[in-house]
Structures are given as C-alpha cells and as structure tokens.
C-alpha cells in the first residue's frame, strides 16, 4: 500500500473538537512516527485511519479510495491496527487458538491456516508459547501475540498505538528489531508514540501533532 490519507478531516468527541481541518498523507514502505503530547489526538488519527471512528467532515482515503463505505473487517485485511492495550485484541484461551479462530470462523482451508500459523510463529518467535494460555502471558508476549494476529491477514500497512507501553528496555529492543524486519518486507508502519528514544531507533520520518 502506497499511502493512507486524511483529507480535511474534523473530528470531535461529543462537543470537544480534537481534530480540525487536518490533511496529511502517510506514505507506505517506511516507518512514520506520529508524536505529540497526551490528548493531542494521536490515537484519534490512528482510529480515523482505520475507520474505527468516523470523521464529522472530510474523508479518509486508502490508496485514493474512500473508506467511508468499507466495513472494518475488509479495512483490517489491508491495514492492521495494534491497540495500546494488546489484551483488547486477544480473545481465545491459548495462543494457537487465538491466532486461528478468525480463520476458522471464515472457513479458511486447513492447509492455508497451517501455513499462515507457521509463518507468524516464525516471524514473531512464538513457537515456545504456542500452547500457552493467553491470560498468563507477560506484557511483552501479549504484545508480540497481538502483533502476530495482524499478520494472519497479510497487511500492507500497520498502525501501532503506543506499542512500547509497559515494555522494559530489552523488550523494547526486541520490538524495534521486529519492526525493522516488518519494514524490510515493504510493509508501511505508522508508529503512534511519545517514546522518542524508541522512535529514533526505528522511524524513518517523524510527524509532530503540534505542527499539523
């Protein structure tokens, strides 16, 4: 995917206007960091790009195509979204079950399921915990699992909301390596964060909310 675009978007939570007449394009195949103070609207931008929130006015475009009429499930097939709290996107009892259940519900053939499972287990080094219970995983493992779930659908772009929250130095470094691997596969990354040290290590471009 070459670009995600926000065009003249205004958005408010009830009566509080968070974003006003914002226009910006996030280019693909690189890692862009969106930084800003708490409450500056970083997460809102991510949710607008995914279609989780709908703008009051303006348009969200994926590859110059409006996402207005698209359903969330289809959007997420091309653009993956990682919540600030990874537990929000983990549903099943075990890691393996959690990775596979959407495919089972969508009647994906077993052979393809096994291939996809193997691919993400390798990519995110999840072999050791494949049969572990999700609620017993550490924050870093949950983070990796949540990230892995996005790749069960072959996204072309991923949006990560504060991915370093609750991670120690070692785990941050591992996440950094992982993001570099993802970038090397020509997958665009939008990193929403205020962790400047981490951003310096992985981002190719930095956009400040204050400058928009």
């Amino acid at each position: 995917m070459n670009e995600l675009t926000i065009s003249d978007v205004t958005f408010s939570y009830k009566k509080k206007e968070v974003i006003k007449d914002l226009s910006i394009t996030f280019k693909g195949h690189k890692c862009t960091a969106l930084v800003g103070a708490n409450g500056s609207g970083k997460t809102t931008v991510g949710k607008l790009l995914m279609g989780i929130l709908s703008p009051n006015s303006g348009q969200i475009l994926h590859e110059n195509q409006s996402i207005d009429k698209m359903n969330l499930s289809d959007i997420a097939g091309r653009v993956g979204y990682l919540f600030q709290n990874p537990s929000k996107q983990i549903f099943a009892v075990t890691v393996k079950e959690d990775l596979l259940f959407p495919l089972k519900l969508n009647h994906v053939p077993k052979k393809i399921m096994d291939e996809k499972l193997q691919y993400v287990l390798d990519m995110f080094h999840l072999h050791e915990i494949v049969d572990a219970q999700c609620h017993l995983l550490s924050q870093g493992e949950k983070q990796r699992l949540a990230l892995a779930t996005l790749f069960m659908r072959s996204p072309e772009y991923i949006i990560l909301d504060e991915p370093t929250t609750g991670l120690d130095k070692v785990r941050k470094k591992r996440l950094g390596h992982l993001l570099n691997d993802i970038k090397s596969k020509n997958i665009g990354i939008l990193l929403i964060s205020h962790d400047m040290k981490f951003i310096d290590e992985v981002a190719d471009e930095i956009i400040r909310m204050e400058d928009l």
């Binding site: 995914m50 989780i52 359903n71 969330l72 499930s73 289809d74 997420a76 097939g77 993956g80 979204y81 919540f83 537990s87 929000k88 996107q89 983990i90 549903f91 099943a92 009892v93 259940f101 959407p102 495919l103 519900l105 969508n106 609620h135 779930t149 069960m152 659908r153």
Partner: protein, 239 residues
C-alpha cells in the same frame, strides 16, 4: 425544574410498576408521553430513547409476528396461506412490549438527572443501608463503561477479520464465546481493582457516615408526587 432525588425515585417506581400492569395500548402510550414530559422538565436526555427505538424495531416486529403466529386468539389482519402473520392480539402484545421497554428507558433518563452522590443519599434517607446504596450507584456509574468496553471488543473482533453481519447463527454463537471471555475477564479485573481501591480509601472505616448533602423535600416535590399518583389512579381506574 430541580427535584429531590427521592421524588424522582418515587415517580420512576410509580410509572415503571404501572407499565407492568397496564394492558391497554392507549393507556400505555399516555403513560409513556407523561414519562417523556417529566424527563423533559427535568432536563433528561430523552432524545436518546427515541434513537434506541430505531434499533428495537426488528425485535418488536419479530414479537408481533411470533405472537400472531402462535396465539390462537384474535382477528387475523394479514395471513399467508394458512399462517396468521398479523393478528390484532399479536399487534397489541408487541406494542405493549415496546411501550414497557420505552417507559423503563425513560425512567432511566429521569434518574440520570441526579448525580450518583444524590442518588446514594436519597437511598440512605429511604433507610437503605449505605453499602447497598453505594453498590447500586456504582452499578449505574459503571454501566456506560461496560457498554463502551463491549463496543471496543466488537471493533477488535471485526479488526481480526470477522464480519459479524455475514455470519450464520451457529457461527455467531461460537463467536460470542470469544467475545464474552475478554469482557468477563476485564469486568472481574475491574471489580478486583475497584474493591482494593475503595478499601484503601477507608470504605466502612467508621460506623456512621456523614455527608455534605442535605436533602429536603420541597413544594415542587410534593406537587410532582401528588400529580403523578393522581394521574396513575385515573389511568388505572379509567376502564
């Protein structure tokens, strides 16, 4: 208009209990209009009730059809071959159900015009033990948070590539198993943290609890209660 939370509780109990015993659609409609009127004069957000009506239409139509098909009484209004699709009894029962739900929702908007602290104080004045009053208020306060969490879970599951609208009933049932587990785990986790937090803040540390709020029934409260009782008596007794 500002009313004492006790008179609001009184009015809410009165109209919602009456909604359970009324069997006439016209009377139920009158009761609903009065509920809406009270909500309006208390600055309640009754517009949300009208919005919810849209979402409930499918349920109401299903109830009307089921009542018509399985109830042998009543005059047939619409039929298909030998199947009774719509009878006057089915229509009446469906509409009664609709108004009962709407009246309960309107009652909620009336209560929501008082703050949590005012409601706790009102319940205490009505001789309800503080612990119970606090639990009721807590339940009311946390309801929107749970609704929000449930919505987030639905979004997260759609982001995983599950298109709920296109699923068959059996698949939907399987899916709800997955949806409920994070919601239940999240709820239990919140309850645990909340109980710890209120203990840390000295909950029940002293046998008697004081409050800066002083509730006093005023003229408007008595008028509201008397008018409500008179209206309900007229409604129930009027044939």
């Amino acid at each position: 208009m500002k009313l004492d939370p006790r008179s609001k509780l009184f009015v809410v109990v009165l109209i919602s209990s009456t909604a359970l015993i009324l069997t006439s659609v016209t009377k139920m409609l009158l009761l609903f209009i009065v509920g809406l009127f009270i909500s309006k004069i208390l600055d309640g957000h009754f517009v949300s009730v009208i919005r919810k009506l849209k979402r409930m239409l499918t349920v109401i139509i299903t109830i009307i059809i089921l009542q018509s098909v399985f109830n042998t009484e009543g005059q047939v209004l619409i039929s298909f071959a030998t199947i009774r699709l719509l009878t006057d009894v089915g229509l009446t029962k469906g509409l009664l159900y609709l108004f009962r739900v709407l009246i309960i929702l309107v009652s909620g908007t009336i209560l929501a015009t008082s703050s949590e602290t005012e409601l706790i104080e009102a319940l205490i004045k009505l001789k309800i033990p503080y612990d119970f009053a606090f639990m009721v208020a807590l339940g009311i306060r946390f309801m929107p948070i749970f609704i929000e969490e449930f919505k987030d879970t639905m979004v997260a599951i759609e982001l995983r590539g599950v298109n709920i609208k296109q699923m068959k009933i059996k698949e939907k049932l399987d899916l709800y198993g997955y949806i409920l587990s994070p919601v239940i785990i999240g709820t239990l986790d919140k309850a645990k943290k909340l109980s710890l937090s209120i203990e840390m803040r000295g909950f029940r540390s002293k046998p008697k609890r004081t409050s800066h709020l002083t509730l006093k029934l005023k003229r408007n409260d008595y008028i509201m209660m008397m008018v409500s009782v008179s209206f309900i008596l007229l409604l129930v007794q009027g044939g």
